[in-house]
Symmetry: C2
Subunit: 491 residues, 2 copies
Amino acid sequence: MRTKPSAKAIGTNSLQAEPRPNIVLIVSDDHGREALGCYGSLGAESPTVRTPHIDQLAADGTRFSNAFCTTASCSPSRSVLLTGLHNHANGMYGLEHQEHHFSSFDTVRSLPVLLEQAGYRTARIGKLHVAPERVYHFQQVLKAGGVNDPVSIGRSPVEMARLCYPFLDKNSAQSANPSVAQPFFLYFATDDPHRSNAVAADGSPIFDGSKPNLFGNRPGGYPQVGDHFYQPRQVRVPPYLPDTKACRAELAQYYESISRLDAGVGRLIDYLKDTGQYDNTLIVYLSDNGAPFPGAKTTLYEPGMRLPCIIKLPKPQKPGFVQDAMISWVDVTPTLLDFAGVGTSSLGKQGRSFRKIIEQENVSGWDEVYASHSLHEITMYYPMRVVRERRYKLIVNLAHQLPYPMALDLYNSFTWQDALRTKRKLFGKRTVAAYLHRPAVELYDLQTDPDEVKNLAANPRYQNVLVRLQAKLKHFQQQTRDPWLYKETRE
Amino acid sequence: MRTKPSAKAIGTNSLQAEPRPNIVLIVSDDHGREALGCYGSLGAESPTVRTPHIDQLAADGTRFSNAFCTTASCSPSRSVLLTGLHNHANGMYGLEHQEHHFSSFDTVRSLPVLLEQAGYRTARIGKLHVAPERVYHFQQVLKAGGVNDPVSIGRSPVEMARLCYPFLDKNSAQSANPSVAQPFFLYFATDDPHRSNAVAADGSPIFDGSKPNLFGNRPGGYPQVGDHFYQPRQVRVPPYLPDTKACRAELAQYYESISRLDAGVGRLIDYLKDTGQYDNTLIVYLSDNGAPFPGAKTTLYEPGMRLPCIIKLPKPQKPGFVQDAMISWVDVTPTLLDFAGVGTSSLGKQGRSFRKIIEQENVSGWDEVYASHSLHEITMYYPMRVVRERRYKLIVNLAHQLPYPMALDLYNSFTWQDALRTKRKLFGKRTVAAYLHRPAVELYDLQTDPDEVKNLAANPRYQNVLVRLQAKLKHFQQQTRDPWLYKETRE
């Protein structure tokens, strides 16, 4: 049943005349698109990772083949998702937790706050990892631990889904009178498939590089989660990773975590159906950034920024459609607000709504995305700015003089430590030296060089492309009031 | 009249048996010790900057000849002053305002909060520049704008002092019953002698490098502030600055701002006397960091970190004493808490109280300080770690591969722009190239090389010194849980 606009709704436009859908935004943690069944056109072999529920969502809805985060770091990427502003414009320049301690400006108005103001019920479950709370406020934080909820969520997205049931179930959560029923916004953010970490006495994480990480997997699995074990020989090693025993062992664990995540997505969708909400709910599945391996997460190479994005409209007209428009995470908040009939003039116009093109064929005008990375950990200063067209991609490394900083979890990964131990020169198709020491400017022709290893920035034949993309990037920095714009003049 | 411990006092020790003094902490903005009369032993010529009131405070109290900030950046330095924790330990890694947006951890317990818990009345006036407010909470924020205060503070420390009068005046501010009188803590933080800035429509500062900055000076001066104009030919150019017309013109303006600051300090002391508080008030005068010129502020060279510090005990026993113990700003909060009889176990033991040695001759055990700089502006990542003994000083530049980042106000200063325009090779005694491109390790013998231009780090004769200081610095980083400690292992 479609809900009517709430009397409390503000900032709405003519869309208010249409029923407003519920919105479920599912954000996984470090899920690269190369490890997802429905993106198997990338060259998956059989048997590869099994994700039947997310695949089914794609079969029912629209799968974006050119979706990108704008920074491949957890907190900054989530801040972009939830504000429609680049991290350099919302203040969340790096990780939120522990000593990293980044946060968004108090003046930022986030998606949950704007939806609440428009009359939505809002709730979140799982990882938030952005701050401050008053900027990213949800009405409810769903969690285990109540009288009837003795089970910890742990790393079980299925358990997370169960805890959402009362919120989804309008009959129990809302008035019996449909005229005052409110649409809801659920932000469902799993810890899977992030690397798991042991924790020291002081709460700081410990990563042990002498053996494969478990990615949240545990002996005996989790209640109601089907067994999804993978043999290292079964996994597909993507081109950016080395085909080593160490890497295969970690990918097998990674796959298991992804299958558990998939089970949670399936359970959540079951509950949406059980509660009669599925057909009036917009469901978005995406990941904050690429896989937790060197070469992906923290970088703005393709494995770091090109990500899964599946959108199931309340009533899809073209189930299984594949949309190749280029969108990025800065567009997500404007799009969801558009569905909710909320004007986006309070945002900085950095992203734009792609609502109207979700099922549209031969879209034009969606042919480039921009990315902006500042820091990951507080010690990992490495600002990068990127413009990515369909064919060419420009990466400007503003602190290229520094060695590329390694995140704690990636540096201490079995995959990377093994590469260091065995003194590998190549890591995937890139040399370890090239990975750690980057030039000021990288220009790639993705058509002929999808693995981004042949830098064309100094090639005279590509000077026109370079100049054109540099001008675009400068315009982007000006338009988004990038604090790093000064670098050109002061250094 | 000495106050008695408040019934509300907590965390106190046996010092509670003694009367607790009022505390006035005066923090000026960018006041280098080379521009202060009572530090004239540094080689001042006549006529130089006139600071009769601060000089008188030194004549009445103790002048520290070896006092140091731990980071020469406004917000981080103030966070150290007010917490007793290095910036890398309290979270305030860089500037607080605008897009820089750094803040301390919510778990930090600051000086005003601890003093309030111990029964002090607390108030601040002027610049705070640290965040969040709940961590750095003062009971009162004194400011212009009340019914009887139509005058803006502007850049007049004399006006600031006037606005403090009601707070200082116990009879008006407290109960007439002395038994419930509380001691007070006043944090008096001037904008002088910082560079003044014009402000663009969006609130961002504009510095015009084509002419001397006015340092808050304005035609006609400020009410009740004596005329203190200086001719460029009168000023003393310190060794780290170039003796150019441009630099002299800016120093003359800087001096005028310092003399206005001095007038405000004088007025505040007058009011302490008028209200009968002078003899039961501990007065501290210091600056957040060195002068707002390249070569001082933002650097951890001596002009950036070696600063004025004058302490007037409630009842000085040795007026005019000069204390050569080496102290740093991380010691200030433990010292002031010690005066208030508040235990410091809640602090991280990074600083220590120097209360007992203020008037002590031939002090031992105060022969080194540590400094830690992280960022200034968000774009100015340049972590440095320093151990400074009486003779030797080690500076480790953790991001030495980057050009030394120039602060907005310093880059656009007339002094620096003039040096760029005229293509000066030398800036003070250091080359411009050496200033902008620094080695990983700098080791100086301050006895033979007070201007820090002869790096001994690679000199085999100083390897023992280098190894000894490196070990000290590593121990310091471990003890203070420095996030940047990992650099050694991950890069």
